[in-house]
Subunit: 294 residues, 2 copies
Amino acid sequence: MTATTVHQPTHREALWALEDAFERGDLITVFGRCTVEYDGRAASSLGVGRRLLVLKPDGTALVHTDENQKPVNWQPPGSEHHAAVRDGRLRVRSVHTSPDETLAVRFETVEQLSAMSVSGRRDLSVTGSEADLRNALLDRPALIESGFEPLATERPTDAGPIDLFGRDSDGRPVVVELKRRRVGPSAASQLQRYVAAIEREEGDNAAVRGILVAPSVTDRARRLLAEHELEFVAVEPPSSTGDAGENNTLDTEPAETNAFDLAVDDSAHDSAGDATGNDESEAAGTVPADEESN
Amino acid sequence: MTATTVHQPTHREALWALEDAFERGDLITVFGRCTVEYDGRAASSLGVGRRLLVLKPDGTALVHTDENQKPVNWQPPGSEHHAAVRDGRLRVRSVHTSPDETLAVRFETVEQLSAMSVSGRRDLSVTGSEADLRNALLDRPALIESGFEPLATERPTDAGPIDLFGRDSDGRPVVVELKRRRVGPSAASQLQRYVAAIEREEGDNAAVRGILVAPSVTDRARRLLAEHELEFVAVEPPSSTGDAGENNTLDTEPAETNAFDLAVDDSAHDSAGDATGNDESEAAGTVPADEESN
DNA sequence: GCCTAGGTCCCGTGG
DNA sequence: CCACGGGGCCTAGGC
């Protein structure tokens, strides 16, 4: 129920505590001086130092140092944790199969070991994802282009699924690729692959349009789009500070929960344009201070 | 020096311990029941549950549940941690600027709070990276193709840097893209971009070859390569179990530390081939059992 | 700061 | 199991 902790344990005491925690399915943290060896998809070796080891009941293992968000070493979920005392020292091994990988943490000293039962993330709700952008555009397809008619999302092709497929006011097929943030060359190539796939589907004479929809685009990506006669439409990035209810009611639509501020900022394939997205100034009342309740 | 821990603290005691740990630049772990709110590049809300909060002196914040390698919520390095007691409850806020992001963790109960000074990853050495593959191929360019002459790595082009650039025995320019693992469509597109850039550099009549070097390739990527008349050469993935000293000395070169077993497995652009990498059997004595020392 | 690409990417979804 | 693409990707290296 509550957290169990052993402070400055002997290595053998730490082993007992670990085995108990494994039994209970607790999440475990270990502070101590250790070395780390990893062998699997790659291989690595880490000299002695003071670190934090986290062991999860799902098999995940994390070795954290004083900096960076990513662990310096780790083991994926599905691994099996094993603990033992060798040469009087605690050793934790996490073993994964398929792919075969092993993480070994050898402790010189164990400062502290804690364990507590933790609960999963049942109810994490996120807004501002690409799916939110897609829904926003389905509500207001004219923001991609006046007269654009959405026909399908995740439409399958030989090259993979298209984010948003439809036709323009002239009846031409339109492939739309959505990105929630500034795009680089890979997104342009991705769009180009999908356009080529539709062109093969429709026949060689088909004039298939491709539109990349994102907050902004790098110079290189813009040139790539131009080379393939693809287009770019800018949308505002998700507006962050809780404006979920602040619908700019220009149209009749109620417009479902819309994390994206949508702005038409067409930049045709042959124009240089400067919609690099570094010039946003007035979106929705960006008052940096004054957050309610501290 | 050693770890400090408070068990079942009051919220105010937890606050004192946190402030002390901030002062010392410790790495901090907090077990407790909490809710988590995030707002920034996206936004999310997480209901009450028992979790582990990790705070690093570089500004990183991590919220971990009982499963998955990635934290359910987090804050990047460079954030500023702030702690306070509001309504009798501990609240930790980590604030980042540019991009503006805030993570707020509100504790219902604090089971335990620990802090310890930890040290960085000075001496992490990894093998099996793409750079290792590149070095291995520079030592033995014939494994890409007999007569291949490497001229440059990271060669800049209008489309970005080329992993490995050279010429074949006929003097034709060759663009080589390296991947440390099985490749999909994006790698094929990446190679195609580089080849197109070199073709523009060299002139329209130039016959520029492109070779994707990787352990294996998906069907879709193989088709993409064929469409653009690009080639694929298979190399064995990094062989994992410590064979760093096992140089197969066929040539005169001493062959530096070579984490990759290299195998020629050419599959031309117009052949279907089956070098999907699922059929490796005898590489280098793959004895699954018997790991030295435990 | 931006851009580009690698990563033991992780992760979910679909086949 | 593999394949594919998103991600608050993160991180390193250039510029």
